[in-house]
Symmetry: C2
Subunit: 211 residues, 2 copies
DNA sequence: TAATTGACGGGGATAAATCCCCTTTTTTAA
DNA sequence: TTAAAAAAGGGGATTTATCCCCGTCAATTA
């Protein structure tokens, strides 16, 4: 019996195309092609033809890959998720894996790799590329000396990513300018920054502030 | 005789998949699948089996879509380019069209639209979706009061998105700090900014500096 | 209970950024 | 070729930003 696959990707052309690719594998069949997580869940609820494995994009409107994977891990733990995305951001990849994805493929992988990955996830339970393995290892290492920002500090950083002066920021936060000064100093210290520009760049790189 | 298509996309899985999709159209055949502009140009130079139309991704390493399209418009003006990307950024779309692309498809279009677009580009010479038409119209309107940044100003902005002081920036640019001061002033004026933080945010929003 | 820690705030100094007005030199264009 | 515009640079003043050292108060912990 053929192994059953669902493809979830908001880009119609791509989901169609990827489904076509999977159909070329003689041991696989495509049971669903969905635009987002919501559509997939609707399919699972209404049909008995459940996939054994889901090829899931990460960036989707309505119901994203991370959200959907979390849902599947809880409600349908027998269905494996294999993430398939152009997103190379380490944090996103980690989130996806923590949500329960059994592997993470970049869209520039070879067709044969996709075939291997599908088979491995079903037989061994997982498929990690070298890149992903490294990211997992690094995340273990770095989880120790992780920099923790306090709530009030994050609040300040967001305001610092603005044309406001520190005095104005202090007003908005109902604090003395001197206290705000303390936050700035503490952040410069622990993040190793030289000036406000550095803080703004840090905030953007770490998704604290999205421009 | 079948119409000849080349697919250019750095994501192997996607270019393969899209090529598969095009092969499903009985009136089209795929003569080349390339990872980037350089590969396409190599193909054009080495083979006589030239495509009539190129399905081109925008974001590619080594030789990007815009660069490649510019090259093709000059050297192989008979080959039409149809852009195919997830990039919805107006400026990118405009750049692609100005470079000579005959149309711009987002990757979430239907298979039938792709077929139509391929045919239209070959018969009529262009294919514009509603979205793209609007962008073109708006660009005409806004082209009047467009803010133009000079080369030296852009150079300065990039350095301002750094922890360097203006004095240091002046050294790097081989200018007097006062001249750099002039650039800053001029930019604050024409971009309506209050301080350096604003300049950094402007640079990031407008892809002058990519963090 | 005494010591410690963390959040909040202050004084005062220096460096950087911002602003306004001005001169010289080079480029551009009428 | 000459007037105009743009680019480069300067003087000097004010405001922000940055830095360092200090004190208070409350909560936590040894």
């Amino acid at each position: 019996m053929k192994k059953k696959v669902a493809v979830v990707d908001d880009h119609t052309l791509l989901s169609e195309a990827i489904a076509g690719l999977v159909r070329q594998f003689p041991d696989f069949e495509v049971v669903a092609v969905c635009k987002n997580g919501q559509e997939l869940i609707n399919h699972l609820k209404s049909s008995l033809n459940h996939p054994q494995i889901v090829l899931m994009d990460v960036n989707m409107p309505i119901m994203g890959g991370i959200e959907t994977t979390t849902y599947l891990s809880e409600k349908y733990p027998t269905i494996k998720v294999l993430a398939l995305s152009v997103e190379e951001n380490e944090k996103i990849i980690l989130k996806m894996l923590r949500a329960g994805a059994k592997g993470y493929l970049l869209k520039d992988t070879e067709k044969s790799i996709l075939h291997n990955a599908l088979n491995d996830v079903l037989s061994k339970g997982f498929y990690y590329t070298n890149t992903v393995s490294k990211i997992l290892l690094d995340s273990e290492k770095n989880s120790q000396n992780e920099i923790v920002l306090k709530g009030r500090e994050v609040e300040f950083i967001k305001l610092a990513c603005t044309e406001m002066t520190y005095r104005e920021i202090a007003e908005v936060m109902f604090l003395s300018p001197k206290t705000v000064e303390g936050y700035r100093e503490a952040l410069f210290q622990k993040l190793n920054l030289k000036n406000r520009t550095g803080l703004v760049l840090y905030a953007i790189k770490n998704d604290i502030f999205i421009p």
